[in-house]
């Protein structure tokens, strides 16, 4: 009877929470700092899903939950949603992002060049056992390149547009405060493109990968290519409310991916078509899968599993995880109701239709 113990329920839930934190050990500023320093990619994942760029708070959320990612994202989302909007940052274009890594699979070389930047892509995935075995802390410092790489790069898509391979780019001039905001409005269909991109940006990393992978494996367009993938730092340019001067409030880590497919448009003059995704934080796997989904969601013959409605509803991390764990709640009233209906059908006198 502990589940719905008379008068005990309230004490039981408080003790259960205390027990969780007791097993985790105490929360301290040192622990939060350690998480923030050691796990930047985990922070990026959580900040992306939370739509809140705040590394210190993300570290706090991770420390407070012991790394339970869905709980950490919910903590940050619940905090974020109550915060007032003090301003809107300026729109930033690709060529203004301080870019640390930039890859194109579409061309061997391209204006600005390929820049590997920091990556584990070509590492040998070998556990460094000597660290735990011998206490080794040896590391090899990266050598500086003879020529420093440029900090900014033109968009490959700009070159493709110039060459007529992509349709011309019409700049969306919607004022920032009027851009549809998924966190302040319900998601309705057909969803505005802003909602679609926001939904993918804050989507569950695992969920986005699952559906994106289904596209890649065979349920989507057949020949997607990574046009460009970037990791960078974007200036947050605000307008000072007093002086009206633009100023940078700091930089946020961002990642973005473009997926390109051939033979879109008309049969006579086929063109390329771009899928796009971007997130706060460096989340490479997620933006590639999300750009793949974005492209497929807009295709006229999207697989049922890749329509905007299916993708956006089912990759929402807070909603999906919350609903999943809600099945732990008691359901004995509904169960009783269905059981009663089933027993009536099982009754021997139930051969006739009930009237």
């Amino acid at each position: 009877m502990a589940y719905v113990a008379a008068r005990g329920g309230e004490q039981a839930i408080q003790e259960a929470e205390r027990l969780y934190h007791e097993l985790l050990g105490g929360l301290s500023p040192e622990r939060v700092r350690a998480v923030q320093e050691a796990l930047p990619y985990l922070l990026d994942r959580v900040m992306g899903e939370a739509s809140l760029y705040a590394p210190e708070l993300a570290a706090l959320a991770l420390a407070q939950t012991g790394g339970e990612l869905y709980e950490a994202v919910l903590l940050l989302r619940a905090f974020r949603t109550t915060q007032p909007r003090l301003g809107y940052a300026e729109v930033i274009e690709q060529d203004r992002v301080l870019t640390l890594r930039r890859i194109s699979a579409a061309f061997k070389d391209l204006p600005g060049g390929q820049v590997l930047g920091p990556t584990l892509d070509y590492s040998h995935r070998v556990l460094r056992l000597e660290v735990v075995k011998d206490g080794s802390t040896a590391r090899e410092a990266a050598a500086a390149a003879p020529m420093p790489a440029p900090s900014h790069y033109p968009a490959l898509a700009a070159w493709q547009r110039e060459a007529g391979l992509l349709p011309p780019h019409t700049l969306d001039v919607t004022p920032a405060e009027e851009i549809p905001d998924l966190t302040r409005e319900p998601l309705l269909f057909p969803a505005p493109r802003a909602h679609q991109l926001q939904g993918l940006a804050r989507g569950d990393t695992g969920g986005i990968l699952t559906l994106g992978y289904a596209d890649m494996r065979g349920y989507g367009l057949t020949h997607p290519t990574i046009n460009e993938m970037r990791l960078g730092e974007a200036e947050v340019i605000l307008t000072h409310p007093g002086t009206g001067a633009a100023f940078s409030a700091g930089r946020v880590r961002v990642s973005q991916a473009e997926i390109v497919t051939t033979f879109a448009g008309s049969n006579e003059t086929p063109q390329l078509k771009l899928g796009f995704a971007a997130t706060l934080g460096w989340n490479e796997v997620k933006v590639i899968a999300a750009a793949m989904l974005e492209l497929n969601m807009r295709s006229p013959e999207a697989h049922p599993a890749h329509t905007a409605e299916f993708v956006l509803y089912h990759t929402e991390p807070v909603e999906a995880s919350g609903f999943c764990i809600h099945y732990k709640l008691p359901h004995y009233v509904t169960f009783q109701s269905s059981l009663e209906a089933m027993r009536r059908v099982r009754e021997p006198q139930s051969a006739e239709v009930e009237r």
Binding site: I13, R80, P330, Y332, Q336, V345, R355
Partner: protein, 306 residues
């Protein structure tokens, strides 16, 4: 001017947690829902510090309505002391300081999951039902855009067909909880997963009922004194759960919704699901009139044919 001057003085949270813009949106959408009985109004549905699917829709409505003079009751499966009800009540009290109660008649706001209290609620009370799935057409049309169009056209043929197929297959209508109902002769709504026993209580009720799905971002309402009819064939009447043969082992009461409790010897015993009502009976307090009397007769004469 400095950024510090623009920012509000620091406080951990607003009264009732939600910021004022969130409350304003909820109140506007609530008014719209009341104006269009049974119509699902989309709303932003902010995150709250409770897991989605655990009553966040009901909680947002409660938080947008609650004021310092309110008295709040929270139940889950009819029980005030169910763990999640205890948690939600603790949260509302912590964010507002309002009084809480287990007495359905003493409360001004009742937030509930899966049950409507047995005692007849009054005009000045509001019942807020937590809703997991607001879409009564989900079973026949999983695409929400198509379902919206069907509501617009009052195209409910598939819902009737579903019930008819149950009759053909099982000779009974086997819908347990969440029985679809036509509200004010216009929209079919899901009454949330309340048992069939509770659905008639919404018909021409004195109190206001608000139904809110946080995860699905929809809220809808049954205003006071509104027609609520379960989908029912002329020759196959709607039936509530038949528990006539059983009595509550603690109070001896019959003809109320009972929980079945399996026993070690293979038998079952039964107890009142409405724990606040049971509490009153056990203390010997005067309980209010109930929707179903001690003989099982519903208080709106002639409403139930089955």
């Amino acid at each position: 001017m400095t950024v510090a001057q623009l920012a509000q003085p620091w406080q951990d949270h607003s009264y009732a947690f939600l910021d004022e813009s969130a409350k304003r949106e909820l109140r506007r959408k609530t008014l719209k829902a009341i104006a269009l009985p049974g119509y699902q109004v989309p709303y932003a549905s902010r995150e709250v510090p409770i897991a989605r699917g655990w009553g966040t829709g009901g909680l947002q409505v409660t938080l947008s309505l609650v004021g310092p003079d309110d008295v709040v009751k929270v139940i889950d499966q009819g029980a005030d002391d169910s763990v999640n009800a205890a948690n939600l009540r603790r949260f509302v009290a912590r964010m507002t300081g309002v009084k809480t109660t287990t007495d359905a008649l003493a409360a001004t706001l009742i937030q509930s999951r899966h049950r409507i209290p047995e005692e007849v609620l009054r005009a000045e009370q509001a019942l807020i039902l937590q809703v997991p799935d607001p879409e009564p057409l989900r079973e026949v049309e999983p695409d929400i855009s198509v379902a919206r169009q069907m509501h617009a056209d009052a195209d409910y043929g598939l819902s009737w067909l579903l019930l008819y197929e149950q009759l053909v297959r099982y000779r009974r209508i086997i819908q347990g909880d969440s029985y679809p109902a036509l509200v004010h002769g216009r929209y079919v709504m899901s009454p949330s997963p309340i048992p069939r026993w509770d659905l008639p209580k919404l018909h021409h009720s004195a109190h206001l009922t608000l139904l809110s799905a946080g995860r699905e971002k929809r809220l809808y309402a049954v205003p006071p004194y509104t027609e609520v009819r379960p989908l029912e064939f002329d020759d196959v009447p709607y039936r509530v759960e038949d528990q006539r043969a059983f009595a509550c082992f603690r109070t001896g009461v019959r003809n109320k919704f009972l929980n079945e409790l399996p026993q070690g010897d293979g038998s079952s015993r039964y107890e009142l699901s409405d724990s606040g009502y049971a509490e009153k009976l056990l203390r010997g307090d005067l309980a209010g009139p109930t929707y179903f009397d001690s003989e099982g007769k519903f208080y709106h004469d002639g409403y139930l044919q089955g």
